[in-house]
């Protein structure tokens, strides 16, 4: 009985914290889906939270896989939580070949959106990181351009 009460207390303490975080991210996803534009349809979102890079290690990266289909046009919209400095960057890989990144290393310009006109059906890997290895929280919404 005591055990059940302990679990209940732990659950009651933890639950509001979890739901608040979830609600905030849901809101960011909805906002981000809206930025994709009128002629798009939402397909998928990726919620990314990463810590600040440590001095002698590579910047943290979150990887995800997604099938993209030939003859489809996809839009990757990137949105950031105002709580952190880091701005979300997506890099799209086909196997081990980098196709495109929302951060242009040569100019230093960062884009909040990438359109990908897909001509090859397959599994692509998305690498998410935050600018300058900063701590960050953001979402990437993948939409189909109609």
């Amino acid at each position: 009985m005591k055990c059940r009460i302990l679990i209940l207390v732990l659950a009651l303490v933890a639950l509001p914290l979890t739901s608040k975080g979830q609600a905030a991210t849901d809101e960011l996803v909805s906002k981000c889906a809206l930025t994709a534009g009128d002629n798009t349809a939402y397909l998928k979102d990726f919620r990314v939270q990463l810590p600040k890079a440590t001095a002698d290690a590579a910047a943290p990266v979150y990887k995800a896989n997604m099938y993209l289909m030939k003859n489809m046009k996809y839009r990757f919209s990137l949105c950031n939580s105002a709580e952190f400095k880091g701005e979300l960057i997506v890099t799209i890989y086909d196997a081990d070949k980098e196709l495109i990144s929302s951060f242009n290393k040569s100019t230093g310009k960062q884009y909040s959106s990438i359109d990908f006109f897909c001509n090859k059906t397959g599994l692509y890997t998305l690498w998410f990181a935050f600018s300058n290895g900063e701590q960050g929280s953001g979402v990437s919404v993948v939409s189909m351009i109609k």
């Binding site: 059940r4 909805s30 349809a41 939402y42 003859n71 990438i114 006109f117 001509n119 090859k120 189909m144």
Partner: protein, 324 residues
Amino acid sequence: MKFDSIKHFFYICVLTPNLMTGKIARLALLFLLISVCSCKVNNRKQAELLFPVIDSATIAESEKLSKEAIADIVQNVASPVEIAAMLQSLSVPFSADYLGSTKGVEQLSTNFQKATMLGIYGADLGYLNIYEKTGNSIEVVSSIKQLADGLRVGQFFDYETIKRLSLNKTDIDSLLYLSVSSYNKIDEYLRTNDRGSLSALMISGVWLEGQYIATQVVTSFPEKKLKDRIGEQKIILNDLLMLLRPYKGTSPEYSNLYALMEQMSNLYRDVKVTYRIAEPQTLEKDDRLVLIQKEESVVEMSDDELRKIVGLTMEIRNKLISGE
């Protein structure tokens, strides 16, 4: 690790109260207290636990597939919205004949049936929404709600809002967003709560219905783009089989479905997907970065192979719908 420990403790405490005696209870409690205390002692560590695992491995290393990685890959396999949008772009008219019947949903008794039908109706809903036939979708939406409740995932399907948006017909974008994101949430919840077998069934249902609609349409509209899309499913089908494989021995229903999907995979054996290599073109337009991929996937599939795939797709899908 800590979460797993607490979850394990929860099972011991709540689900198996008779076992909570003597040493087991004291050990479990001690383990929990150590977990909780270690969180307090090292706040920095706790903060790190909130984040996804940092992965700085190469792609090749990340492709060594764990069960979780397979699920992660396959979660994006089936997008009925994309198939429907393709049909619409080819000016294929809408047909309600392709949709699964919603009669008898309340009589579905097993989780196997509920999960596969949840997938099938999800694909139908995507098809209806893309064609803006939202008035026709109320029955499908109600059936989805019923099935989701039956699988205890009804909380992720915003029935009232989806129903209202469907009836109003004014905000298709929001309707599409809510419908698709509800399915994504259901899938994620099932996978992260040790109910991956149901997620695999739902994903298979979505994929099969998308494949069914595409193969039905191609018999009347033999467009090359559509044939190619059906042929390209060879790539995805292998991953679907990987997803279903761990559960194939769990019930006769699962075993039958797996055998049929293997048959489908065999039909695809001679379908060839090759690639024409070319460098992509990158440009900037309206402050957006645009990538135009020039590399191309090319499908070679004979009419006979297509005919067999059309036939088997119909057979599997109809078996699932009739509950055979």
